[in-house]
Amino acid sequence: MTTPDYRLSQLETLEAESIHVIREVVAELERPVLLFSGGKDSIVMLELARKAFAPARIPFPVMHVDTGLNFPEVLEFRDRRVAELGVQLVVASVPDAIAAGTVKEEPNGSRNRIQTPVLLDAVEQHGFTALFGGARRDEDKARAKERVFSFRDEFGQWDPKNQRPELWDLYNGRIHLGESIRVFPLSNWTELDIWQYILRAEIAIPALYLAQERDVVERQGMRYAVNEFISPREGEQVRRESVRYRTVGDANLTAAVPSTATTVEEVIAEIAVTRMTERGATRGDDKVSDAAMEDRKKEGYF
C-alpha cells in the first residue's frame, strides 16, 4: 500500500497514530480498559487495539456501560466480538445501580446522565487508571478541544481550562492515586474516515447500521423505530419505512434516518452527501443546549 514517495494515505496515517496511542497507554499505565458500546467507533477502536498487539491478545479488558436500554443486535454483537478476541468483558450495569439505589432514574427516561456515576463506580471498583473511549473531535465543539490523553481528577471530572499541554506525540500519562486518564485514540478521525476504514479493513458491524424496512413513528421531526422501548403514543401514526441507524445509543432515544443504504459502500455514499452532523440528526439528548456536551464531560462523562 506504500507509495514511491513514502507517504501514507490519510487512513494509514490515522491507523498508525491510533496504534501508537494505544501502545503508549499499555506501556505507561497500569490498568487500562477499553469502553466498548458496540457502536461503530468503539468497534474500530477495538480492531485497532487488536492490531496494536497482534499476534498477542489485547492486554486489557473491555467494559460496557450497560444502560439496560440496548438494541439486542448490539448486545449479540458485543458478546460475539469479545469471544472472538478472547478478551475479558466487564459490564457496569445501570439497572443494577438503580435497583441498588445508587442512582435514580431521570423523569425523561434518559439514562445518559446517570450512566456517569455507574461508570465511575466501576472504574473505582476495578482500579482502572486509563479508559479508552471512541470519541472523535469532529463530533462536538467541546470534544474538539479535548486532548488525546484527557486527565481526570478523582471524580472523573474534565477541567477544560486546565488541560495538560499535549506536544508532538509525547503523551503524559502520569497520575496520582485515584486519578485517571481518558484516552481517545480516534481523536483525529472523522465519521467518514471511520466508515472508509470499516470498508477497507472489512470490519464487521451490527446490522442496525444498514437500512432495512422498519415500523417508525415521528417525534419532533425525527424517526424512531418501534422496538422493545418505543411504542407508538396516542395519535402517532406507524409507518413502514426503510431506515438505518447512523449512531447506536440507547434504544429508547436513538432515532433512525431514512435510508436505502444496505451496504457499507452505500453508507459512505449517503454520508458523503448528507449535510447534518450525526449527533444532530439522531440524538435527542444533545440538543438541550449549546454546551450540553461540555457540561456532561465536566461531570465525568466521556
Binding site: Q10, T13, A52, T260
Partner: protein, 441 residues
C-alpha cells in the same frame, strides 16, 4: 433542520452520490495545519470560511451559528469554532481546537490556537505537529509584535511551511501597496528566522476573497488562493528518510501455542526506512543484529518509514526493552546525559537552575536536573537575555540539562522526533515544558 431533509432518503446511486464517494474515498494524504492569530485578526472567521466553503460544516452546525449570531449583518462564522462556554461569553479562544476538513486532493487537520502572548504554550502545542502554519495579519494594522511572535514560534518548532494571510483586504480597498509593504516587511523578518518556505496571500476571510477561489478584486495578485496552496504545497520532502531511528515502545510476546517463539518490538518509526535484512544496532547495548521481519497492521511489510506503527522482529535474541532504540550501526544518534535545548516553559511556577524534573524523550522517561539557564529569549525582539535567573510561563530560553540515564538524541533541526522532549513536574504530574535540542556549546 428542514423537514424535507428528513423525509427523503439520500439517493445513494445518484450521480451526486457517486461523485461524493469518489471524492471521499480517493487516496489522499493529510496536511496538518496550525493557525495563529487573535479573534481581532479574523482567525476564527477564516477557519469558519474554510470549513464552510469546503463543505465541512453541516447544516445543523450552521443553523446553530445562525441562531447565535442573530441580529448581526452577517452570519458570524467565528462561532463555528469557539467551543467552550467561556470562549463564547468572552469572545476569545482559550485552548487549541482541532478542526477537520477535506477536499478531493487532501484531508486537513487544523489546530486552531489562540494568539495572545499568555497562550504561547497553546500555540507551541498546536505547531508541534504541524506541516504548515498560517499566521494572520490585519491589513489595516500591518505586522505587529504578535505576528513576529507567531512566525518565530512556527520556525522554532520547525514547521516547514509558513503562510501569512493578510486579512481584511476589503477594509484597505484592496490596496496592492498595503499588501506589498506587509509582504516585504514579513519576508525581511522571515529571512532572520529559519523559514524554508514562505507564502503571503491577500484575503478577506469575511467575504471569502482568495480563501477558496482567486478573487477578482485582487487582479494584481498572481499567486494561488489560500486553499489551493494548502492543497498543493509539497510536503513529501519534509521528512527525514535517511537516519533510521526506531524507539522501542512495547515488547510483544504472545506466549501462546501458535506464536510460541514470537518476540517483536513494537513502535512508531521516527525516521529513516527499515527493511528486513538490514543490519541494525540496538541502543544502549550497542549490540548489532539484523531485521528478521517487520509486521504492519495488515501483516508483514517490506519497508517501514515514518510515521508507520509496526513491530520489528530481530534475528538474534537480544535483551531489548521499552526505551531502547534501533538504528543503523554506521548512523547512530548521540548517546548522552547532557542536553542543550531551547525550552518553552508552560507553567506559572518558574524554571530555575538546579530544579529537578521528569523528562520524556521518545519512549524513554528519565529524570533531569537543570544545570544552567544560558539565556532567555525575548520572543518579540529575538534578543537573548543572558542574565535571566528563571523562565516564567510562556518564556523560551536556552537550557542545559543533565539526565539520570543517557538519551539517544539528534538535533531537532535534523530530526523532529529524536530532537524533542517534554518536561513533567514530578509533584503535580503536569506537563511544564517542551524542549528542542540544539547543538551543544
Amino acid at each position: 433542520m428542514t423537514a424535507a431533509q428528513h423525509d427523503a432518503p439520500v439517493d445513494v446511486h445518484s450521480a451526486a452520490a457517486e461523485a461524493a464517494v469518489e471524492i471521499a474515498t480517493a487516496r489522499k494524504d493529510i496536511l496538518r495545519i496550525a493557525t495563529a492569530g487573535s479573534v481581532d485578526d479574523g482567525k476564527s472567521t477564516l477557519i469558519g470560511r474554510l470549513l464552510y466553503d469546503s463543505k465541512a460544516v453541516f447544516e445543523d452546525q450552521y443553523e446553530a451559528v445562525e441562531r447565535a449570531s442573530a441580529g448581526g449583518d452577517y452570519v458570524n462564522l467565528a462561532l463555528l469554532t469557539d467551543g467552550l462556554r467561556a470562549e463564547r461569553e468572552q469572545g476569545i479562544t482559550i485552548d487549541v481546537a482541532y478542526r477537520y476538513f477535506a477536499t478531493p486532493r487532501r484531508t486537513f487537520i487544523l489546530a486552531d490556537t489562540p494568539g495572545h502572548v499568555q497562550y504561547t504554550r497553546n500555540m507551541v502545542t498546536g505547531a508541534s505537529t504541524a506541516d504548515l502554519a498560517i499566521v494572520l495579519v490585519d491589513a489595516r494594522k500591518g505586522m505587529l509584535e504578535q505576528s513576529r511572535r507567531h512566525a518565530f514560534l512556527a520556525s522554532l518548532l520547525r514547521v516547514p511551511h509558513l503562510v501569512v494571510a493578510v486579512n481584511k483586504m476589503d477594509l484597505v480597498d484592496w490596496s496592492e501597496d498595503t499588501f506589498e509593504a506587509i509582504r516585504d516587511e514579513f519576508t525581511a523578518f522571515a529571512a532572520k528566522l529559519d523559514v524554508p518556505d514562505l507564502t503571503v496571500v491577500p484575503i478577506s476571510a469575511l467575504q471569502g476573497d482568495n480563501v477558496v477561489r482567486r478573487s477578482e478584486r485582487t487582479p494584481w495578485y498572481q499567486g494561488p488562493s489560500l486553499l489551493h496552496h494548502l492543497e498543493h504545497v509539497h510536503v513529501a520532502s519534509d521528512r527525514n528518510l535517511v537516519d533510521v531511528r526506531f524507539p522501542v515502545q512495547y515488547v510483544i510476546r504472545p506466549q501462546s501455542e501458535a506464536h510460541h517463539d514470537y518476540r517483536g518490538y513494537a513502535g512508531t518509526v521516527a525516521s529513516g526506512v527499515l527493511r528486513p535484512g538490514d543490519e541494525v544496532q540496538v541502543l544502549p547495548s550497542g549490540l548489532t543484529t539484523t531485521i528478521a521481519g517487520i509486521d504492519g497492521p495488515r501483516g508483514p511489510v517490506e519497508e517501514a518509514f515514518a510515521p508507520m506503527a509496526v513491530t520489528v522482529r530481530l534475528t538474534d535474541d537480544l535483551d531489548v526493552s521499552r526505551g531502547d532504540l534501533i538504528c543503523r550501526p554506521a548512523n547512530a544518534p548521540r548517546v548522552s546525559q547532557d542536553l542543550d535545548a531551547l525550552v518553552c516553559w508552560m507553567t506559572d511556577e518558574p524554571l530555575r537552575p538546579r530544579q529537578r524534573l521528569a523528562i520524556k524523550h521518545t519512549t524513554r522517561s528519565v529524570r533531569a536536573v537543570v544545570k544552567e539557564l544560558q539565556y532567555r529569549l525575548d520572543i518579540n525582539t529575538l534578543h537573548r537575555e543572558p542574565g535571566a535567573g528563571e523562565l516564567g510561563l510562556n518564556d523560551i530560553g536556552r537550557v542545559r540539562l543533565r539526565t539520570t540515564q543517557p538519551l539517544f538524541v539528534d538535533e531537532y533541526s535534523r530530526n523532529r522526533v529524536t530532537g524533542r522532549f517534554i518536561l513533567v513536574d514530578e509533584a503535580t504530574n503536569a506537563t511544564v515544558g517542551a524542549g528542542m535540542l540544539v547543538p551543544g556549546t
